[in-house]
Amino acid sequence: MSLSRRQFIGIGGAAVAAAAAAPGLRLVELANARSPEEAATSLQRWGLLIDISKCNDCDVCVTACSTENGWYGHNRPATDPQWIRKVTLKDNQTGYVESLPVLCQHCEEPPCVDVCPTGASFKRADGIVLVDKHICIGCRYCMMACPYKARSFVHEDTTNQKPYAPRGKGTVESCTLCVHRVDAGRIPACVEACNKDGHQAMAFGDLNDKTSEISKRLASAPSTQLRPDLNLNTGVRYQGI
């Protein structure tokens, strides 16, 4: 078997390109990707780590979520949907102000699931807490039960929904951890936007996988849950609060 000079260069070039692209791609893609026929399992538990010290006074995560999932307000702050919001904390004694995103904490023991009378509010095997809007009757018990005010009720007719993020009037909705992206082996839109913007304040990954970036970061520095006293074992963790 003999290769012409042209073929040799071609193959060599492809090999170099693959080697250059592979490390970055493979770490994320292969670890997370699941085939479409495969059901989500409890082997994984998806989580999010938010480092407040790197979180600026910006709202790229909120904008990215809104664009990705097609939710928008009607200039009625009391009832507008908010899957993720920025909350400012102020230490009244020192005057120190910090800002952090608050979203569905994807609890291991979600109070919203406990109170749902129809089973619409449920936790998927891989720890993502969702609303099955097909069986949601819009009673809003889950909104009252959630200690994080993470859920919203859709008060208005919806338009321009994304094909992968259906939403409709009369149902409750909240952060899905971009489940359509996670199922395709991608990371949530907020994390992608935050990393793209260079803040690197958010990390997404499998809490059960001790070799994942999120697990390593959690193991190497102190972190906290919001309202740890409730023993909900949240999937969203914070550092630097």
Binding site: P36, E38, T63, Y72, R85, L89, N160, A184
Partner: protein
Amino acid sequence: MRGKTTILAGVLALLAAGLFAGGSVQAAETAAKAGSIGPTIKIFKGDKCVRPTEDMRRNHMKYILHQRDETMHEGIRTETYQLTNCVDCHADPKTNSVLGKDGFCSSCHQYAAVTIDCFSCHSPSPEENGQPPKAAETAPSRLMNLMRLSADNARPREDQP
């Protein structure tokens, strides 16, 4: 004797019903062909459906329902019976939708007097051609976020350390 009469009457009634039903089916088909009152069936993409047409006409709702629960609760996202898959092939390129007077889904459901509410939540348009929301509505504005923040701060908050 009375029994016999009853049976005979029953048989006659059945025959008449059969004839009537057959006749009405034929009438419906003719109507559909003539394009007067029948549903508009336009297929814009793909050679054939994921199942034979006859099967899909009777059972598409069962396939979609089954897929719905699997996707929602287990994260199984096979393409065959996905609603987005229906929409991708059947959306009218002119209206970019399966709804509307001649829309694939709505025209037939209207003809069959079936109220579907898939599209009160789901998008009736394929993803790539989806009309983006108006710029003002795409994202909550900076101002609104500030309003939200002040509202948040005003409400009693549990997440304060």
